[in-house]
Symmetry: D2
C-alpha cells in the first residue's frame, strides 16, 4: 500500500439506476461533433507516433479544436449529391521543429484525418464532399519543454484539473451505448443504407425506458419511400432486440420521429451524416470520455479528444477515472454505483493525485467497510500504472468519445 491519498466513502445519494428519471445520450460516430472528436483524436495519435518515430518521445502538441462547417446536399432516392462540401479546420498547437529538423505535422494531421474519415464515414469522398484544412501553430514557449526525457517517467501535473468516471453502467446507459455500437457495427455491414450518423437518446422514468434513435439513411440504397419506411422499421426492430437483451424493463423505441411522410420530410442523406446539410460540429461538444452524455452524473467539461496523452492531466484523469471505476466495479462484488474522481495537484507526479475519491453505493446487504480495502487496492494499482493510459491512448486502444 502506498501513501496515495485515496478516499473511499458511501455516496450520499441513490444509485442512478434507482433514481426516478434518467437521461442518457450518445452521438454516433457519424454525428458532426463526433466526427470532430474522431478527427482530433486520430490526429493526436498520429502526431504522438510521428514524434516517437522521429525523435524518440512525444513533443508538445494539443489538437483538441477541430471545427466542422456543414455543407449542403441534395439527397435523392437512388442517389443524390453533395452540392457544397463540408469544411473541416483542424486547429491546435504542434511542435514543428526539433533539433533543427522540420517535422511534417500538417501533412501528418491531414493524412490522419483522411484515413479516419475513409474508415468511419466512407461515403464522404475526402477532397470533394469534404475539404480539410489545418491551422496548427506553435505553442507558447513555456509549454515546449514540459516533458521529461525519459518515457517511463511519470510526468508532473502542470495544472489543477480533475477527472470523473463511473461504473457500472445503468441499463439505460448500456442500452444507449450498445445500440449505437451495434448499429454502426454488424447492422450497418448488413444494411448499407444506414449511415454512421446515428444519435441515440435514452430516457427512463421509473421502469419504462424510451429509446429514440435518429438514423441518417443513405439515399443510394433507398430507391423510394417504401424502402425508406422499411429501413426505419428494420432499425426499430433491431434496437428493440438489443434493448430486450439488456433489460427486463418496458422499452419503447422510436426511430426518426421528426419524419413527416406527407410533407416528404425524411432523414435521407447522400453521405450518411447530417454534416452534409446544415449541422456544424466541434470537438468536446458531444460524448464524454466514456462515450455517453449523462446529465444524472457529474461530468467533466474538458474535451478529451485531441489532447496530448502524455501531459494533459485533464485527458489522462478523465480516462483513468473511467478505467478505475470500470476495473473496481468488475473486480469487486457488491457495488451498485461507483463514482471515481481524481483531482490533480500542480507540481506533483500525476500518479499522486491531490485526492482520489470514490463514492460508492453498495448493493443491498453489502457493507462498504467490508469491500473498502479491495476498492482501495485496485485504485492504488491503477494509479501506479498511470503511464499505461498514455500508451493505450497512443495505440488507439482507449476511446475518448
Amino acid at each position: 500500500m502506498t501513501d496515495r491519498n485515496i478516499n473511499v466513502e458511501a455516496a450520499e445519494r441513490a444509485a442512478v439506476e434507482d433514481q426516478g428519471v434518467e437521461i442518457v445520450e450518445r452521438k454516433g460516430i457519424g454525428h458532426p461533433d463526433s466526427i470532430c472528436d474522431g478527427i482530433a483524436e486520430s490526429v493526436s495519435q498520429a502526431l504522438s507516433k510521428l514524434y516517437i518515430d522521429r525523435v524518440g518521445k512525444v513533443l508538445h502538441y494539443n489538437t483538441d479544436e477541430t471545427q466542422l462547417v456543414a455543407g449542403e446536399s441534395a439527397p435523392r432516392y437512388g442517389g443524390g449529391e453533395v452540392i457544397e462540401p463540408i469544411y473541416v479546420l483542424i486547429v491546435g498547437r504542434a511542435t514543428t521543429e526539433y533539433d533543427g529538423r522540420k517535422l511534417p505535422v500538417d501533412a501528418t494531421a491531414l493524412s490522419a484525418a483522411r484515413e479516419y474519415l475513409n474508415e468511419h464515414v466512407p461515403e464522404l469522398d475526402v477532397g470533394t464532399d469534404i475539404v480539410i484544412d489545418t491551422r496548427l501553430g506553435e505553442g507558447s514557449g513555456d509549454l515546449q519543454d514540459v516533458f521529461g526525457e525519459k518515457a517511463a517517467e511519470v510526468p508532473m501535473a502542470n495544472d489543477t484539473s480533475y477527472g470523473v468516471g463511473h461504473a457500472p453502467l445503468t441499463e439505460t446507459e448500456e442500452i444507449v451505448l450498445t445500440v449505437e455500437r451495434e448499429l454502426n457495427g454488424a447492422y450497418a455491414d448488413d444494411n448499407p443504407e444506414l449511415g454512421p450518423d446515428v444519435k441515440v437518446m435514452g430516457k427512463r422514468e421509473g421502469d419504462r425506458i424510451d429509446i429514440t434513435v435518429a438514423a441518417a439513411m443513405i439515399d443510394a440504397h433507398i430507391p423510394d419511400l417504401d424502402a425508406y419506411d422499411d429501413a426505419v422499421d428494420r432499425v426499430r426492430e433491431f434496437v428493440e432486440g438489443v434493448a430486450e437483451r439488456l433489460t427486463d424493463r418496458e422499452v419503447h423505441v422510436d426511430v426518426n420521429t421528426a419524419d413527416d411522410y406527407d410533407e416528404g420530410s425524411i432523414y435521407l442523406t447522400v453521405t450518411g451524416t447530417s454534416a452534409e446539410m446544415g449541422d456544424d460540429g466541434s470537438v468536446g461538444r458531444g460524448n464524454r470520455a466514456n462515450g455517453l452524455i449523462t446529465p444524472n452524473r457529474p461530468m467533466s467539461m474538458e474535451a478529451t479528444s485531441g489532447k496530448n496523452p502524455v501531459n494533459h492531466i485533464g485527458k489522462i484523469y478523465n480516462l483513468l477515472s473511467t478505467d478505475i471505476a470500470e476495473t473496481v466495479a468488475a473486480d469487486v462484488d457488491g457495488i451498485r454505483d461507483l463514482q471515481v474522481r481524481l483531482l490533480s495537484q500542480i507540481g506533483r507526479p500525476i500518479d499522486q493525485p491531490h485526492v482520489a475519491g470514490a463514492e460508492v453505493v453498495t448493493e443491498p446487504g453489502v457493507d462498504l467497510e467490508a469491500i473498502e480495502p479491495e476498492i482501495r487496492a485496485r485504485i492504488d494499482d491503477r494509479l501506479a500504472n498511470v503511464t499505461d493510459v498514455t500508451r493505450r491512448v497512443i495505440d488507439g486502444e482507449l476511446s475518448t468519445f
Copy 2:
C-alpha cells in the same frame, strides 16, 4: 394553478455547500473559450435584432460554433507586439434571404463580433491583432419554417432536450464568480495592467477555500519585473478582500502560480489574453449558462451561447432553469440547495415541459412540505412567462456564459 407537470421533491444528497470537497471554475471574459462564447452570443443577438428589424420576426439561425485559432506574440516590458494575428472563424447557419430580399447576415455578424471585442478585449486591435472571418451557411430545409408567425406565441419543442439550474450559489461559487466580475470590472478600470483573461479556480476542502487566479498582465503597463510583482500582489490582496466579504471560512489566494521569476517565465501579454499566444478557443467549452463550471453539480453539455433564443429548447431551458432556481431561492425561505431540471417534450409548447423537477435540500428545521406550494407556484409562474427568456436574451439582459 395549471396542469404543468411540476415535481418537487427532497434531494437524496447533501447540499453542495455541505459536501466534503467542492471544485468551481470560471473562465474570465478574456479567456479564449469565453471570447468565442461572447462573440457567438453577440452575433446571435445581432442576428435576432436584424431579423426583427427587417422582417418582423426572428428567422432560423444558429451561431454557436465560433472557433478561435491562437496567434503568436512577443510581449515585452513597456509594450511588445502581436507577431501573428489570432484567427476567428464565426461558424453557423443563418437565413440569408426572405421574401426575395437578401439579408446582410455576414456583415452583421462581423460587425457584432468587432463591437464585442472592442468593448470587452479593447487591447485587441481588430483587423491587425485578430482576423475575423465567417462561414455562415443555410440551414437544412426542414428547419427554415419552424417558427410561428406570432411573436407572442409559445413555440413547440422540436427536440428532446433539457436544462438544469441551481441556487443559491455556494460560498465558493459566489467567490469565484464575484472575483472574476470585480477584477474585470472596477479593478481593471483602476489597474489597466490587468487583462480580461482572468481564470479563477476555487477549491474547497471542508472549511478551507483555495482560490487560484491566473491573470494575464498587459505589458504596456508593466515597465519591469518589480512592477509585475506588484501587480500580482495587488490582485492577490484584492481577491482576498472579495473573499473575506463573502465567507467566514479560511481562504488562501494564489495568483499566477505558474510564474518562475528566475527563468523569466511570467504571465505577460500584449493584449491581455492568452489567445495571442498559443491558447485556442471554442464555443461551449467553458462556463455553463450560470457563468461557472461546477463538477459537483449536474451540468448540461449543450452550448448555450450563439443558439437561437426563439426556438432552441436547450438554450431556453438552460437559462430558464437557472432563472427559476434563482427566483425560487430568492423568494422562498428555508432552501439550502435547489436544483431545477426541465425536460422538453417534442411537439408540445415549451411552457409545458415533459417534467419540471425541483430537488430541494432544506435548511435545518425546515419542512419541505411547508414550502412546497410556494416553490411550485413560482416554477409555474416562470414557465408561464417562458417567452420572457427569449426577449431578455435578445436584449442582452441574460448572460449565457
Copy 3:
C-alpha cells in the same frame, strides 16, 4: 465573302525571326502559375459540362482566379517529405441554382482540380501535400442572363476586348515550346526523376540561341549527388537534341544554373514542383494562350484560363486570333511573320469584330497583294466558325496556357 471588317496590311516592322534580340519563355505545366492555369481551366471545362449536362446550356461562370500558396518541404536524396501542404483556393463566380434546382458547382470544381493534379502533377498527393478549397460566389445579377437560349447562336460581345495571335513560331519559340512539351512527355515517362516544374527560357542574339532550363528533380528517384548530376546532364543532352532538330543556329543549353554543389544547393524536390517550397502561383501570370511568353510580340494581359468559353470575349478572341494566325500561316505560302488582332464591338455578334486586322511580313520576293485574298478568305472562314472555339475549349482540345 462577307461584310466582316477584315484588314490585311504589311507590318511596319521586321519579322521577329529577323530582329536582333529575341526572348521567349515557357513555364512548364508543373510551375505554380501553370498549376493555377491548369486547375482554373479544368474547373471551367467541368462546369461547362455540368451545365450542359444538367440544363442543356452553359450558365454564367468565371473561374479565372485560382490562387496557390506555396508549401514547405524537406527534400532528401532517396525521398523526403512535404512539411506544410500547398494551399490552393479556387476563386470565381458560378451559377449555383437554376429553375429551382441546386447545382453542385463546388463539388464539381474540387473534383476537376483533383483529377487535373492527379494527371499532371502525380507526385502531389491531393489532400495531404496540397489542400484545395473553393470560394465560388454568385455573379452580379446583370450577367446571369447574358446567354442566348440557342446553343448554336453566336453570342453578342458584352465588352470591348481584343485578342492577338501570331504565326508561324520563330525557331526560338518553337524550341522553347517543344523542349517543355517533350521533357514533360516522353522524356519524363522514361526518366521519372524529372518533375513537371520545368521552366524554359530562350534568348536569341543574332544567330546564337541560349536555352536555359530550370528542372525540378524528384528526390525519390535521386539517390545522391552523382545521380543528380547525371540527371541534369541527361536533360541537357536531350534539350540539345531537340534544339538541333529545330534550328541550324548555334545553340547553348544550360540546366539548373542556380545550383551550387559545394553549398549543397540543388534543385531537388519531393513532388516535382517548386510550389512545395516557397513559390506561390496565380492564374494569368504565366504563359499566354499560345503557351509562350513573348516580349517581342504584343500580348494580351487577359487571363485566358478559367474564363467562360461561351461568352468571355477576351478568351475567345485570344484563342481565335491564335487559331486564325496558325491556319493562315499553314495554308498560305510566303508568310514570314503574321500577327492577327481581333477587336470586339459591344452589342454586335462576336463573329463580327469591330476589326480583324492582320499584319504580314512576307517572305522575300513575295508580294502581299498576291496572297491577300487567300489570307482574307481564311480569316473570314474562321470567324464564321467562331462557336467552334467554344466547343473545342469545352472538350479540352484547345490549350489555354
Copy 4:
C-alpha cells in the same frame, strides 16, 4: 562613360502615335485588380520599412500574390448595404525571424492593407465590408541570404529577367491616364457619388479617339435615377474637358454604356467598387508599371506590385526602364517614340545589364546619330543610380500600377 552595354538604334516600326489603331486601358484604383496591386505594394513597402527599422536592411520577402474574392451587395438609392463581405487573402513569402528575434510580418501586412484601403477605397469598412487574411510563408532556404550586407551595394541579378518602358505617352495614353487620375482626384473630392472603381478604355482609329468610362456610383449619394443620370452626365462632361485639353483630335466619350435604364440596370454600388458584387481580383492582372495596359507596345508579364524592390530584378527593371524612357524623352529633343528594354545577366550587378537597348523613332527631320550621345549618357546615368529605384519604391514615390 562606362562600359555598360548600351545599344541605341532606330526602331523598325512606326511610332505608336502614328499607327492606324491604338488601344489603351487603365483600371482605376478601385478596380478589384488594382485593389490587389495596391494592397500588395503597400504591404511590400511596410515590410521593407519594418525590416530596415528592426534589422537595418531589407530581408527576403515577396508579397505579389494578393487574391480578392468578390462579395455580394444590395445597392439602393440613398444607401444600400453589403450583404457578404469581400474576402482578401494576402499571399507571399516573408522572413519572420532574424537573429533569434521574431518579426511581426503578418500584423504589419494587415495593418498596411487596412491603411491603404482606408485611404483609397474609404467607403469600404474594413472588417465588415471586407475581410482581410494573410498566408505569408517562409521562402525557400536559398533565397534567404541573397542580399548584401551593405545597403549601398548594388545587388547581383539572380534571374534572367527584363523590363520594358516607353515614352513619351501618346495622346490616347495621356488622356486615359489623366482621366482616371483626375476623376479619382479633384473630381471625386467635389462629387462624392463617384467611386474609385473607374475603368477607362481608349481606342484611337486614325484621328478619332473613343474614350469609354465605366464609373461605379456610390448609392448613398444618389437619391434616384435622375440623380444617377446627372452624375453620369457630369462625368462625361468632365472627361470631355480633360480630353480636349490634351488633344486636337476628335474625341467621343461614353460613360457606363452597359446601363439599361428601362431594365433598371445601372452601375450603382454601395462602396464604389465592383469587388462588392461579383468581380474578383488579383495582383498583376491589370495595369503595367506605367499605369496602363498598352497592347500596341511590348509589355512585361511580370507583376510589379508587391515584389521586393531590393533584389527582384523584374520589378526594378520594369520601373527603371520606364524611368529611363521618361527621363530621356523629357531631356532630349526630337524623340517621337522611345522604347527602352533592359535585360539582366545572372551573376552580374544589376547596374550592368546584359543589354540596355533603346529603340528610337525620331521626330521628322531629326537625325538619330545627332542625339544618340545624349540618349546614351542619360541611360548610363540612370543605370548608375539604380539603387535609387529601390529607395523611391520603399518611400512610395514610384507607382507600380
